[in-house]
Amino acid sequence: MVEPPMTGEAMSDDPDAQPGNKPVVEFAGVSKSYNAGQTNEFTAIKDVTFTVHDKPGHGEFVGVLGPSGCGKSTILKLIAGLEPQHPPTTGTVSVHGRPVTGPGADRGMVFQDYTSFDHRTVLDNVTFGLECHGVSRKIREELGRHWIDQVGLNVATDQHKFPHELSGGMRQRVAIARSLILRPKVILMDEPFGALDPQTRLNMQDLLVKLWRNVEATVFFVTHSVEEAVYLGDRVYVLSASPGRLVHQVDVEPPHRPAALMQREEQFRDTVYHVNDLIAAEEAARVADSE
């Protein structure tokens, strides 16, 4: 189900902007520049405006695509409130109607690099956030085991392992459990499966679809893989080459079927080709610009 790509101007007519659907994440004219006024000034993203609404009982899954270095991660880190991306140079980033002032557990993040804490067991990694919030060990470990099970790890054998005893895919499962245990309303994923082999990647995509249905959070998913974005997303954002602007917003079919099946269907391939063309056009525009 490919809708005609919308241009930046048309994006204010959001089809989800109905009463009752509160905005979860709002970007209003957001730009981010580094080293302003110096010769090495660099603009990561420019004038990005979008609104993601809460669909009751069903968070939205947004795939973010674009050429390399177009500021995809900048958008995620602005939502997370992490420095030095936060604060934006101009514009406002709001989550649940309030401007972002810094990082918080309501916005979970999963990184591409394995960021498991090496000195903590799987269980201690998963319960890190609860520990920081002062939840007693009995309760947090019970909940931790529940989430270890939810992400498809074996509670009995894996909970007391240290991260170096796990494969890359298992480490990312730990990272996902560690984030979801806090029940964040927004989940930010910065190429979480980028370093995994293709088969593990498909399994992780299916896992994510299953988990996301349960947690009902809004997910921002940055990836280089068009297939991944089109498969996982309800909607795909395409950014222009640096400085990144939001140039296309494509509604795609939600992931009803396992990744390995759905990604083989013709309709799915057509959507992927369409999005591929959009990105290629952006890349071409950048090359034309620089010449």
Binding site: K77, A80, L82, G102, P103, G104, A105, R107, G108, M109, F111, D113, T115, F117, D118, H119, R120, T121, D124, F128, G129, L130, E131, C132, H133, G134, V135, S136, R137, K138, I139, R140, E142, L143, H146, Q150, F162, P163, H164, A175, R178, S179, L182, L188, D206, V209, K210, R213, N214, P254, H256, R257, P258
Partner: protein, 336 residues
């Protein structure tokens, strides 16, 4: 056997492949051969009954037999064990003091750039100061007793400890800090639960090196003597020097590296136990440390309530959620 297999078996065997593996036994044998070669050389250049027959005179270098003959004298008359322990106590005390002062300062400097700038001149000064010149100066400040030896080691090491701690903290990847923040940790928790534990393997490595350095420095402080006998290996060397006992000096020089090596192995064993992600193994010490951390946390959670909304979590609530998730996960995919 297939063709390709027979080809593999015919691969020319090279001597000395780069980074080629050797067995533990051959590794030990080669090392023993190296020691034997040194002793053989020593024996060769000092062989002969009378001075004129020797390649190196007995005053400069006594023969191995002469050297080891003085062992019992060193052991009983000079109380080798007691003096070694005296030296060790001084190094351990001085070094611990440097660690207790230097590590917290280094953690602060590694976490907060203004503190780093504040300490930068001190570190620069402390690292480049001529250590030997410091020995006489410490007499004026701290006298000639134990205190002077301990504080000399402290002064010699503390700048290095601060600098190495700062580096280890700075080397922890930003993504770990970002992860901690997005999981709701505050700055204090980010430092104590993420930065410091993740910096520990690097820090321990450089502390182990510095301890070896401190062991060398103590000889300096012990062998420069003002006033009465103060004991220690450095003092033994000094006493032997005065009495013209070359044999004892060589023996002590041989003993010091062995003591240093043994200490280093003990420290390395601790390191292995603490950091299984770097050195493999089960991490028995890390398991103990984690257990202690858990117990301290348990005591804390008796006095503090969780921050909202996580104060709503109960065991019953979790069990109920588990039932709910278990029910939907089967058909979760066919949601629409």
């Amino acid at each position: 056997m297939t063709d390709s297999n027979s080809q593999v078996s015919q691969t020319r065997r090279r001597w000395f492949p780069i980074r080629g593996k050797i067995s533990l036994l051959s590794s030990i044998l080669i090392s023993i051969a190296s020691v034997l070669f040194l002793f053989a050389t020593w024996w060769f250049v000092t062989r002969g009954e009378i001075v004129e027959q020797r390649i190196v005179g007995p005053f400069a270098l006594p023969s191995p037999a002469e050297t080891f003959a003085t062992f019992s004298d060193l052991w009983f008359d000079q109380q080798l064990t007691r003096n070694t322990l005296t030296t060790l106590r001084r190094v351990v005390l001085g070094f611990s003091l440097a660690a207790v002062v230097g590590i917290p300062l280094g953690i602060l400097a590694g976490s907060f750039p203004p503190v780093k700038s504040l300490l930068a001149p001190l570190i620069l000064f402390g690292r480049n100061i001529p250590i030997a010149a410091l020995v006489p100066l410490t007499y004026f400040f701290f006298g000639v007793a134990e205190m002077q030896k301990v504080l000399f080691i402290f002064l010699a090491c503390v700048a290095f400890v601060i600098a190495d701690t700062t580096t280890s903290i700075s080397n922890v990847g930003q993504q770990y800090l970002d992860t901690a923040y997005t999981l709701g940790s505050n700055r204090w928790q980010a430092i104590t639960r993420v930065l410091v534990p993740l910096a520990m393997p690097g820090l321990f490595d450089s502390l182990r090196l510095l301890f070896g350095l401190a062991f060398g420095y103590i000889m300096l402080a012990e062998s420069i003597k003002l006033g009465g006998e103060t004991g220690g290996l450095g003092n033994l060397i000094n006493a032997a020097q005065k009495r013209g006992l070359r044999t004892q000096i060589y023996l002590i020089i041989l003993i010091i590296p062995i003591v240093a090596f043994l200490i280093d192995r003990v420290l390395f064993a601790i390191q292995r136990g603490l950091f299984p992600h770097k050195y493999g193994g089960g991490g028995w010490l890390l398991v103990i440390v984690r257990d202690i951390a858990h117990r301290i946390g348990d005591v804390k959670s008796m006095f503090f309530r969780p921050t909202p909304p996580y104060d709503q979590l109960t065991l019953e609530g979790i069990a109920a959620a588990e039932r709910l998730d278990g029910g939907t996960s089967d058909d979760g995919r066919g949601h629409e």
